[in-house]
């Protein structure tokens, strides 16, 4: 039996400023120690200045994860010494004196499996430590650009039973962050996690320093294998903290014995309690984008999109936004198909997505043309490829690539007559069995590369063989 609990830290990367000052929340791209001020450097006399937008974003995450939101939100000091911590305490949240962190208990459903959430808290990210030089002559450098970046921590119950469940969970989280527009977990350093893992009711091992969702699953997998192997040989599993080595993709025992730290938590008096009035809740609810599950339901019941297609479409904000903007009801199913079967293959990386020139109008025109029989599905795929690449509109693409359906009877008739002349056997069969007509139509389509209007072709074939 495997038990895994997670602590996931995710930066609110879409905010303008840090949690407690006006420096940029997105510190990437700054020179070393250039995105700092007296507040995030903890200079004598400076005071924190709470970024209300960060609180709102964190509350949205809490609400989207089915967490209770308390009446009053408070911040606490976690006191410990570390070079990346400018004040030698971290401003964070906890619930030891009643529910005061942005989110109380909540849950996430993985199909029918429920993953309990203990709490969601908002806190400041520390700076970044850089080790330079050789092991003999090691230099520790600190870059405080990151110090004070708003960080949301999600603490789960030990409800995970396999690395696969972890992957499902983090996929849901990623989609949810993106859907809410609060964070991009794929940015370098934007997401970090710790995992608590035990097997067969044994001792709990904490894995720290996991730097991406991808590695989280790997780390869990490695650690379970390590513990299973000890267990199978009747060796003791020590209760300890291990570090994830992202180069070697293994966990290693922390060399220094970590003492049980006493963080001397107490209320951060420089940040008054934030009263969560009904107004704020209403405001957040109205600002909150529709949830993924609600979208999925709507796509299926209102727009007739098949279950599986709706599932894929709703979980990704990029595609669902495109879908919502382009569909006009009758074409919804066709657009959903275009996106999930064709577009997703064309723009399967972040770079390709950013470079893509395809718009809602493109998709709408394309779907409408398919439905009107002006373009075949296979030609539509070629057209879409061109639209993504160049952004040209449908008419231009069709005429440049000669993709439009041929509906000129005399042109089709020429091909039909040629086919009939070449396939006397098939003609005989078709006269006896109408099903065999399709063979002849197929031949015509092949020669016209799918552009011949299927209905016109059929009637011309019938006419040519006198059926």
């Amino acid at each position: 039996m495997i038990k895994i609990g997670l602590e996931i830290h995710c930066q609110l990367t879409n905010l303008e400023s840090k949690l407690l000052c006006t420096c940029k929340a997105d510190y990437r791209g700054f020179g070393t120690n250039e995105n700092i001020c007296p507040v995030c450097m903890g200079l004598p006399g400076s005071l924190p200045r709470l970024n209300r937008e960060a609180v709102k974003n964190a509350m949205m995450i809490a609400m989207a994860l089915n967490c209770t939101v308390p009446e009053k939100i408070a911040f606490f000091r976690k006191n410990y010494f570390y070079p990346d911590l400018p004040k030698n305490f971290q401003i964070t949240q906890l619930n030891i004196y009643g529910p005061t962190s942005v989110g109380g208990p909540g849950y996430v459903m993985l199909g029918k499996k429920k993953i309990g959430l203990l709490r969601i808290q908002l806190e400041e990210d520390p700076g970044r430590i850089i080790y330079e030089g050789t092991s003999k002559n090691m230099v520790t450098l600190v870059d405080y650009n990151r110090a004070g970046t708003p960080l949301v921590e999600i603490v789960t119950e030990p409800d995970f039973e396999s690395p696969r469940q972890i992957r499902e969970f983090v996929n849901i989280l990623s989609d949810l962050f993106e859907n809410l527009g609060v964070a991009d977990p794929s940015l370098e350093g934007a997401m970090r996690a710790d995992a608590n893992i035990s097997i067969h009711g044994g001792k709990r091992v904490e894995i720290k320093n996991i730097g991406s969702f991808h590695d989280l699953e790997k780390a869990a997998h490695f650690e379970i294998t390590r513990q299973e192997s000890l267990h199978s040989r009747d060796m003791e599993i020590a209760q300890e903290t291990r570090h994830w080595d992202d180069q070697r993709k293994i966990t290693t025992s922390s060399r220094s014995k970590e003492e049980a730290l006493d963080y001397r938590y107490f209320l951060e008096g420089d940040i008054p309690w934030v009263r969560v009035e009904q107004d704020l809740m209403d405001e957040l609810r109205s600002e909150m984008p529709e949830s993924i599950s609600s979208k999925r339901g709507r796509y299926v019941s209102e727009l007739g999109v098949p279950d599986q297609v709706a599932d894929v479409l709703s979980s990704d904000k990029f595609y669902s936004d495109l879908f919502e903007k382009s569909q006009t009801g009758s074409n919804a199913k066709e657009i959903a198909n275009l996106i999930t079967t064709d577009l997703m293959g064309l723009v399967d990386t972040r770079e390709k997505r950013t470079a893509s020139k395809v718009t809602a109008t493109h998709l709408r025109d394309l779907a409408d043309s398919i439905l009107a029989g002006r373009i075949s599905r296979s030609s539509a795929k070629d057209a879409l490829y061109e639209m993504v690449k160049s952004g040209k509109d449908l008419d231009q693409v069709v005429s440049e690539m000669d993709l439009g359906n041929v509906s000129d009877e005399s042109e089709i008739e020429k091909v039909v007559l040629a086919v009939v002349a070449k396939e006397p056997l098939a003609v005989e069969q078709a006269r006896e069995d109408p099903k065999a007509l399709n063979y002849l139509v197929g031949k015509v389509m092949k020669i016209t590369r799918g552009k011949a209007d299927p209905q016109i072709t059929m009637s011309l074939v019938k006419k040519a063989i006198n059926v």
Binding site: P44, G45, F81, R264, G269, D270, P272
Partner: protein
């Protein structure tokens, strides 16, 4: 040059042309050079202040508008940041620390054309009651240099009392403005918590401390409060709704109900202080107020709660002084992080170390319940009690300090008896209430101050009462 004038007299003089700001500031600097050897109020003196004052004179001559402070020379406690100037907290840890920014109170005074003449002495990181814990040596009481000027804003009080400035900014965590004001016979004010921005005040116990003015008169105090008070986006704990303090200050106290706090006037009060207190009561009654005794039971525990809470916050607030990002010259080579921090922090003085050790203990796991959490409980009980008292009374009266100013060295080796000097002042801090110390009497060469306290946000009313009381008092001049 007569330096023995109030801030408002100075401003009026400069505006009507009878006083030149340059002459006054130059005179003040000369006076500092002359007397500060004896007083040791200043840790740094700004000679450039004269240039600033000259600019004010120029502005006035050319008919330009000048700010309300008209170049008045002000001293600043050395835990309030002034851009480009040393801010040491009277500590070896920050001996050469230069702040890259102005505290909000400093920008506000600057905007009103105040001129800063220097930084003044204090107990290290504001922990103390006598300035004897300054790493740069104590200040001396201008009334008698064998006496302590009080603390921790002892330099502020001494500099006002010795005419080395017209007013000063101090900070009050448990009485640190009012106590030295009382000992040096000047007015000292602790505003309602949140009325004055703490941005740029180096934190000691941030949940209860406030910056407050020290001045010669209650009117000067109200004038300065008008300049420095008001909401500040840099300090989330500042509050809206403060009014103006100087206008209406002569409203009087007729019909006001004043509670005399029995726990602050009883046993242990010096007889001279007790008799001054009775005197104050009869004068207030003479002005039309009614006085009645009130008991605040929790005051008994207030000092213990105060030291528990302040130590906890200090332990956290002072943790940043690890010498990594700023501080003094101490090479890091060969040290592991924790041992470096340990080494660097050995520059803290004995009182700071004492309180930080206490601050590491009282909120720690396994002990918080007996100490820190209990102290918070006392704090909230005290607040309820005081809240109840203000349902019945407009003001509370007590002597600021139950004893007379004492000799330097008399209590330094007895930290616990030193703590008890705070008994009358900590309640205002623990409950966020405004309080003022008004010079009331002098026994021999030892000044006595009276403390008035009011309900939160009743600062205007408090200053009106203090002004009324002040008008009944004639005191000898400081024998300087």
């Amino acid at each position: 040059m007569n330096l023995r004038i109030s801030a408002l007299e100075y401003a009026e003089g400069v505006q009507n042309g009878s006083i030149s700001a340059e002459d006054f500031v130059a005179g003040t600097l000369e006076h500092i050079a002359k007397v500060d050897e004896k007083i040791h109020a200043f840790l740094s003196v700004y000679d450039g202040a004269v240039d600033r004052a000259r600019d004010i004179d120029k502005k006035i001559r050319s008919g330009e508008k000048v700010g309300a402070c008209c170049g008045m020379p002000i001293s600043v406690k050395d835990n309030i940041c002034i851009r480009g100037e040393k801010t040491t907290c009277a500590s070896k840890m920050l001996e050469d620390y230069v702040s890259p920014y102005d505290a909000t109170v400093i920008s506000r005074l600057r905007d009103e054309d105040a001129v800063f003449v220097g930084k003044v002495n204090m107990d290290e990181f504001a922990m103390g009651l006598t300035t004897e814990f300054s790493a740069f040596g104590p200040s001396y009481n201008p009334w008698d240099t064998s006496l302590t000027p009080g603390g921790s804003s002892g330099g502020s009080a001494a500099s006002v009392s010795a005419f080395e400035c017209v007013a000063s900014l101090g900070s009050d965590t448990g009485g640190s403005v009012r106590n030295p004001a009382s000992f040096c016979s000047v007015v000292g004010y602790k505003p309602t918590y949140g009325l004055v921005s703490r941005y740029g005040l180096i934190s000691y116990a941030n949940s209860i401390e406030q910056i407050g003015p020290l001045a010669r008169t209650v009117k000067d105090t109200a004038f300065l409060l008008d300049v420095i008070a008001g909401p500040d986006p840099h300090d989330n704990t500042t509050v809206k709704g403060g009014g103006r303090y100087l206008p209406g200050i002569e409203s009087g106290i007729e019909g006001k109900k004043i509670g005399i706090v029995s726990e602050m006037t009883g046993e242990g009060t010096d007889p001279a202080v007790a008799s001054a207190t009775s005197d104050a009561i009869s004068r207030l009654e003479g002005l039309g107020a009614t006085c009645e005794t009130v008991s605040l039971d929790m005051v008994k525990y207030s000092v213990a709660a105060y030291y528990t809470i302040t130590a906890t916050e200090a332990g956290s607030n002072l943790a940043r002084y690890d010498n990594l990002r700023y501080g003094y010259d101490l090479g890091v080579e060969g040290y592991e992080f924790n041992s470096y921090v340990e080494k660097a922090r050995s520059r803290f003085g004995p009182e700071v170390i004492r309180r930080m050790i206490l601050g590491g203990f009282v909120p720690s796991a396994g002990h918080a319940g007996r100490y820190f959490l209990k102290a918070l409980k006392i704090k909230s009980k005290l607040a309820r009690e005081v809240g109840g008292a203000f349902e019945k009374f407009d003001l509370l009266l007590s002597p600021t300090v139950p004893m007379l100013p004492f000799e330097i060295g008399a209590k330094i080796d007895d930290p616990v008896s030193l703590f008890l000097v705070d008994i009358n002042t900590v309640t205002a801090n623990l409950t966020g209430r405004p309080a003022i110390s008004v010079p009331f009497a002098v026994s021999g060469k030892r000044p006595i101050g009276m403390q008035l306290m009011a309900d939160s946000m009743c600062d205007a009313e408090l200053l009106q009462a203090a002004f009324a009381l002040e008008q009944t008092v004639r005191l000898p001049e400081v024998p300087l």
